[in-house]
Symmetry: C2
Subunit: 96 residues, 2 copies
């Protein structure tokens, strides 16, 4: 189990991520798509990765806008795993 990042570490880490914001114990990012079904395809890729890593973000699909919300419940906050996955999600998005 990964260790929870300190408040200071969280702030540093979020500043290094692109488009992710800190919201309490979560990091959150909104991804825009030209088409609804492109957003759904993105969610499918995120879902597959989540299952593989056994770490599932909260996902919202509001038409062409997909919001991902990450935290580590078992650590009570953000961990390195959340940060690594946030970067992975960005790579998946860039490829679409």
């Amino acid at each position: 189990m990964a260790n929870r990042l300190s408040d200071e570490e969280m702030t540093t880490v979020v500043a290094e991520l692109t488009g992710w914001k800190l919201e309490g114990k979560f990091i959150v990012k909104k991804y825009r798509f030209r088409e609804f079904l492109k957003g759904v395809a993105f969610v499918n890729e995120i879902a597959e990765l989540s299952e593989e890593k056994n770490h599932h973000p909260f996902i919202a699909i509001d038409y062409k806008l997909v919001t991902l919300r990450l935290t580590s419940w078992n650590a009570g906050g953000l961990t390195d795993l959340d940060v690594a996955l946030a970067k992975n999600y960005d790579v998946i998005y860039e490829k679409m």
Copy 2:
């Protein structure tokens, strides 16, 4: 464009639906799944139907819980189309 249901009609209609609740201009239902990927498969079917009908619910995937939220923006509230789609979603869920 469908006509918006009156407050009275909305209350009647929601009472006839199974598990749907009225929340302001929306009807909302939470669907539970035994597995995360089953919920994602359900979302894919909902997405396909939404695109076909050009009427998209707000979708949230919180691990094994999928929340659907329906309204008709162009009518400023709920219409017969929302009610018909709510029933369709239930049928899709039952088949899974």
